[in-house]
Amino acid sequence: MADLGNILLFFLFPVSVFTALTALAAGVTKRRGLLEAARRGAYAAFAVTTLAVLALEYLLVTSDFSIEYVASNTNFALPMFYKIVALWAGHNGSLLLWTWIVTIFTAIVAYQHRHKNNDLMPYVLFAMASNMIFFSILSVFISNPFQTLYQEFGNTLQEFTARDGHGLNPLLQHPAMIIHPPVLFIGYVGSVVPFAFAIAALITGKLGAGWIHTTRRWALTTWGFLAVGIVLGGKWAYVELGWGGYWAWDPVENASLLPWLTSTAYLHSVMIQERKGMLKVWNMALVIATYLLAIFGTFLTRSGIVSSVHAFANSGLGPAFAIFLGMGLIFSVTLLLYRRKDLKPDEEMESLVSRESGFLFNNLLFLLATIAVLWGTMFPVISELFTGDQITVGPPWFNNIMIPIGLALLLLTGVGPLLAWRHTSVETLKRSFGWPILGSVILVVVLLALGVRDGWALGSFAISFFVMWTIVVEFVKGANIRRKNSSENFFQAMYMLSRKNTRRYGGYLIHAAMVVMFIGFTGNAFNSETRAEVGEGDSFDLGPYTFNAIKITEDQNENYSSQTLELEMYRNDRLIDVINPEKRFYFASDQPSTEVDIYSTFREDIYAVLSGMSNDGTKVIVQVYRNPFVSMVWIGAFILGIGTLFAMLPNLRESKGGAQ
């Protein structure tokens, strides 16, 4: 089976080259036959890679420990579920997953456009096939998942089969494992589609809004997957890493945030191009930057240049990625410079107080955020170049910069949609903003009276309140206007209103989701924690809560041994819950792991970690965190997903006789 996998993977390289070359030739000669051949090449690449993935799955499921990847990432005792998802647990396997998603997307794009966009398609396929070539080279020659195990016998290397595997990294043994990596990868890889169309538009000179319309759904899908993938990663870190938080500005987290920032900027600035024919170069640059940052993120996690909790250390892929990234950058920037004269704006900015200037400001902030995160992430490398030491900038540095930028962006989500295109008069502004501003001021006074003193938190709550107000007013006002002119009731009117412009109202939903998430982020300002050494019968306090240690139990199965603390949680002498933080020790990988227990409500999470034994071995050390509003982050992400799906629905069209 490993041989078959190897052969299949090996075929991917010539098939990708064939696709790229025929596509390029089709673009030059405009011959249908060539384009059809390129299309079939894309289907073939997909088929071959799918079979290779199945072959690797077969090896994982049957625990074939003659294969290095299988032996390093699974063991006999590993539950079947984790054997299957071990496909993306290790470096080589996850690279195969990347490759697979690239081929899936290429095949889908080839099929979607089989009867249209003949001018663009050759170059789209060429750009996507170039990616396939790169990843097939990596998968076959540099990090092949079908590599067999070798051992030295005397002076010769011989194949051998391990008696058992090393097992899956305990941190990865969590249900989120099934969903987080693929979701994030789809988000990363998806950026290649708008990129390919942008490149095709640049090459052919068909620089109108055509490529933008064609890739709108792809851009939005990618964006949504990236957002949800990032939050899932946060959730995973929260429940699995056991340090009480969900975001630490780790290089790998930042790597996923970077393309999200640029693609969010793009989703906004593209509207200026659609309405005013402006920012054409900028939009191209954002699409290109999103793609390059997605590749850069993969490079960052796999090259080992920046140390991180979950980076794959020094895997030798660094140079290959650096070359590919460099080539991509030079190629796209050259194309952009070559076409810059054709990308002149059709109109000029008319007023500083208008929707378009709101979007511009939004883009400026996103650009700042991207540069800040990139700088902070790369600072260890930059500092090493100049001083010889790796100096890491910590979360406080990121928070100092990103909190103001984030709040300014949040404020814009409230202000922007209320500005009219072209020109907004001051009178109307007063009318739109008067009440929500007054409401926010009252909220701040109330919060101050309640004893909230953190300036950023007050600002964040005030802005959240303001934005939520404006969003609700948008829906209600729109529905009321519609209702006046039709026979619909309020809810019908609201439904029809939003279905007639899914992009606008899906966008508002996403804005509301961001508000909810920001309330969750702001909760961080009020976190508290305590650490206690407890034996059975001991108790300790955190805020209004009292915890009683009831029992410490030890257990063992074939995968791991464990120690569990049973902790009763009281508030005002009333038993609220019994939580069971656990510490495990995995045999195969010889690694410990903490299983936190979380009591979660809308208002706050009580998060308990069993850190270990006290020095004398008679007591256990337990760390309890009280984290307000954390669940808002997950709820917000859920709303964001719904909003993204809604924005992708086609607009409902009404017959002329119907309600208007």
């Binding site: 098939v15 064939f18 025929t22 000669t29 405009k30 011959r31 249908r32 036959g33 060539l34 059809e36 051949a37 079939r40 090449g41 073939a44 088929a47 009867h115 249209k116 003949n118 001018d119 068909k206 109108g208 809004a209 055509g210 659609e274 309405r275 024919g277 209320l418 500005l419 009219a420 295109w421 072209r422 020109h423 907004t424 008069s425 009178e427 109307t428 009318r431 739109s432 948008e474 006002k477 729109g478 206007i481 519609r482 006046k484 002119n485 039709s486 069209r653 002329k656 309600a659 208007q660």
Partner: protein
């Protein structure tokens, strides 16, 4: 078993390269100017729809609304005129048709025939574009 695999692989390979040996035809690039005009038309319609919406939601004063509307209307007029000129050529007509129906073949039947006629406001009698949701003169909702 392995023979079968080889044969499938070979058949697949033949299928991929087959189009290369077919008697070939080439495609003609769509005329850029018509495409550009169609895009401008779409943009101006979108702008008018947005303007009406913004006005209805009370985001701009009546004075601004009227000034901007006038400029959009004259642009729409210019674009339509140019499009008409282009359309006079039969070939261009066909291409234009191609553009408008690109990838919309399936949806076409559902919508039925839709003619681009003006509609009139019941309140003030002003002429409006058929897509208009609100009257451009008095702001009344159109049905």
């Amino acid at each position: 078993m392995s023979y079968l695999a080889y044969l499938t692989g070979l058949a697949f390979l033949v299928w991929i390269v087959m189009p290369l040996f077919k008697k070939d035809s080439t495609w003609v690039s769509l005329h850029m100017e018509v495409e550009e005009l169609a895009e401008r038309k779409q943009r101006v319609y979108g702008n008018i729809a947005d303007l009406e919406f913004d006005f209805a939601m009370g985001r701009l004063s009546e004075k601004d609304f009227k000034t901007i509307r006038t400029s959009f209307l004259s642009e729409a007029g210019r674009v339509m005129e140019k499009l008409e000129n282009q359309k006079s050529s039969k070939l261009m007509d066909r291409i234009q048709n191609d553009i408008e129906h690109l990838g919309k073949k399936k949806k076409k039947n559902k919508k039925g025939s839709k003619t681009q006629t003006a509609i009139f406001c019941t309140e003030c009698g002003a002429e409006n574009l058929s897509e208009a949701k609100f009257c451009m003169k008095c702001g009344k909702g159109l049905s």
